[in-house]
Symmetry: C2
Subunit: 335 residues, 2 copies
C-alpha cells in the first residue's frame, strides 16, 4: 500500500489537522473537536444555518464546502463511514442562530440514521431542523424510485444554491425548498477505472481488470450498471450523457451547469477531453451551458475515473449559483 | 493503457478544446491556434506583458495561470515537450502593448532554445523582451550551480508576484526584477511514488518498485537523488524539509509561503497530512507561514507523489502575493 500517510488509524485526524493548519484563518474545529469543522467566515445574524456530514476520503467533499455562501459546519466521519450522531448534533447546535438549520447531505443509510437521531436531540432543545438529501446518482436506482438514489458530486449544486439562499436571509422553509429544487434538477453518472484503498483496510475496495471500466460505480466502489472494455473518452462521454439525458430530458433553449468531476487519480487533461465532448452533445441539442465546473469536487482518494453532472437551471437557481461564495476549496468571485 | 482519451495524437488539442469550451469567456486561442492561449480578462493599456510556455501534461501548469494578475499568454507544446518558437513569438506579439514583454518559464533546454529564437524574432520587430527562468528544483543541481536547476511547481510564485507587479504598471525591468527575486527566494523538493504514461508512448516513463519511492524526481520523471523504501508521511516531509532548509536557511521571525503540490495521482488528504508536518517543522523554528497553497498546481498527469515548495517573503513579495488574481485555475480574492 503506497500511501503518503502515517498510522492508518490517524489518517482522518491528521488530514483534519493539516486542513486547519493551512486554513485556520477561515475554518476551525468546534471546541477542539477534529470531527466537527465550522466556518470562521463572518456570518449574518439570524441566518439559517446549513450543516452537512459524511465520511472522509472524498476531498473536497464534504468539509471543503464549509465557508461563506455555502455550508456553515460539517461533521466528519472515518473513511467512507458516517460520523457519529453526536458530532452532527454539535454541528447543528453550533450554527443555529434562531432561524433553524438545514441538514443537507448525501442519501446513505448511516448518514440518514445518524442525522435523524441528531435532529431529534436538537429539536428537543427547540432548534428547528429540516433535512434535504442529495440523490443525484442516476446509476444507483431507476427513475421510479429516484428517492433511493445515492448522493454524489452533484451535491455541490445543492450546497451552492441553498447556501446563497440562506445568505439572502430566506427562511428555513425557503432555503429547504431551494435545496429540494436543486436536488430535483441534478443528475450524475460516473465511471471508475481503478479501485481505491481505504487506509485501515490496506487493500483495494474492489477489483477491475486492466482493460475494463465500470459504468455507474459509486464513490465508495458501490457496484455500477455494467463492466465494459476500455473505450475512448468520446464514447465514455456519450454513454454517460445518454443515461443522463434519458433521466433529465433537455430541449433546445434549456440551460444547465455541467460538472465534470475527477475521482482522484484521473488527470485534469482527461477531464477536459470529456468536457469537450459533453459540450458538443449539449450544443447539438441547443442546450446552453452556464458556469461549468471541471476538476475534483468529490473524490474517492486515488480512484481513477470521473463523473458528469447536469444541473438544470431556471432563473432562481442561476442567480443563486452565480452568487459569491468562498471556502478554502471553492471560490466564486461572482462573474 | 487506461487513459480517458481518444487518439493519443489528439490528446493536447482536445484538452485545449475542452479548456476553451469551458472557459471561453475568460481565455481564448490566438487566431484560432490551439497552441497559443491568451487571456480574455480586461487588461490595462500599457501594461507589461507576461508570456510563458511549456509542454503539456502538467495542468494547471502552464496555461492555467493565464488570466488576470498573472500571465497574459501561454504557448503550449506536446506532452512534456517544448512548443515551437513560432508559437512563443506569436504569444509575445499578442501581449505586447508597447511596454515590453517578460518571458517567464521553467529552466529546460528546449524551452530556453526556443524562447531565445522567439525573442530574437520579436526584438527585430522592436518588441523589448526580458527572460526570467524558474529554477526552483533543489534536487536537480547543487547550490553552487543553482542556475542549472529545473523549474517545477514553485514557478507559481514567480507568476503571481510578477503578474501583480505588471498589474501595478511597473516597468519591464521592474517586473523582471520582481520575477528574479521571486525565483531566488523559491525552493522545491519532490518525491515520486509511481510513474506516468505519455499518451503517444503508451508505457510508463520509468519504473519504480511497489514498495519504493524516489526522492527528488523531476516532473517529467527525471532521475532524483535517492530511491528509498516506502516510509511514513512524516518522514517524507522531514526529508524534503531538510533538503529545503539546507538550501534556503530560515530563522525565527522569517515568513514563508508553503506550497504542497500533488503530482496528479495523490489524494488531497495525503497532501494535508504532509502540510501538517511541514507546518510543525516551520513552527518549531519560529518561521511564520503566509497564504499556504495545498493542492494540484503542477502535475505529471497520473503520477503519484508530491512536492513541497518554500517561498521566502519580504514586504514587497508578500504584498504582491496577496494581490488579487483570477484565472480559470487560480483565484485569489484578496484576503
Amino acid at each position: 500500500m503506497k500511501k503518503v500517510i502515517n498510522q492508518p488509524a490517524d489518517f482522518v485526524d491528521e488530514t483534519m489537522e493539516g486542513i486547519v493548519a493551512a486554513y485556520g484563518d477561515r475554518v476551525h474545529f468546534l471546541d477542539g473537536d477534529r470531527r466537527v469543522l465550522v466556518s470562521g467566515y463572518p456570518s449574518k445574524k439570524g441566518k439559517v444555518g446549513i450543516v452537512t456530514a459524511g465520511g472522509s476520503g472524498h476531498l473536497p467533499l464534504f468539509l471543503g464546502y464549509v465557508g461563506a455562501g455555502m455550508v456553515d459546519a460539517c461533521a466528519v466521519g472515518n473513511v467512507f463511514a458516517s460520523p457519529a450522531y453526536t458530532k452532527m448534533a454539535s454541528a447543528i447546535r453550533a450554527v443555529d442562530s434562531g432561524a433553524g438549520v438545514l441538514c443537507l447531505y448525501g442519501n446513505y443509510g448511516g448518514d440518514k440514521m445518524n442525522f435523524q437521531q441528531a435532529i431529534e436531540d436538537c429539536e428537543f432543545d427547540d432548534i428547528r431542523c429540516r433535512s434535504v438529501l442529495a440523490c443525484d446518482d442516476v446509476a444507483s436506482s431507476p427513475r421510479e424510485t429516484a428517492e433511493k438514489r445515492r448522493g454524489v458530486a452533484g451535491i455541490l449544486y445543492a450546497y451552492k444554491c441553498a447556501g446563497a439562499a440562506a445568505d439572502q436571509m430566506r427562511s428555513l422553509d425557503e432555503v429547504a425548498a431551494v435545496a429540494e429544487k436543486a436536488v430535483a434538477n441534478t443528475r450524475t453518472m460516473g465511471v471508475a477505472l481503478t479501485p481505491c484503498i481505504v487506509p485501515e483496510a490496506g487493500r483495494p475496495t474492489f477489483a477491475i481488470a486492466d482493460d475494463e471500466i465500470e459504468i455507474g460505480m459509486g464513490i465508495h466502489g458501490e457496484k455500477g450498471i455494467t463492466v465494459e472494455k476500455m473505450m475512448t473518452a468520446d464514447r465514455i462521454s456519450e454513454i454517460l450523457m445518454e443515461k443522463l439525458l434519458a433521466d433529465l430530458p433537455l430541449k433546445a433553449g434549456d440551460e444547465v451547469s455541467v460538472l465534470v468531476n475527477g475521482l482522484g487519480g484521473t488527470p485534469a487533461e482527461e477531464l477536459f477531453i470529456v468536457y469537450r465532448r459533453v459540450a458538443q452533445i449539449l450544443g447539438e441539442r441547443g442546450v446552453r451551458i452556464f458556469m461549468p465546473h471541471v476538476g475534483e469536487f468529490a473524490t474517492s482518494m486515488e480512484m481513477a475515473g470521473l463523473s458528469v453532472t447536469l444541473f438544470k437551471l431556471d432563473g432562481e437557481l442561476k442567480e443563486l449559483l452565480r452568487a459569491p461564495a468562498s471556502t478554502p476549496f471553492y471560490t466564486n468571485a461572482n462573474k
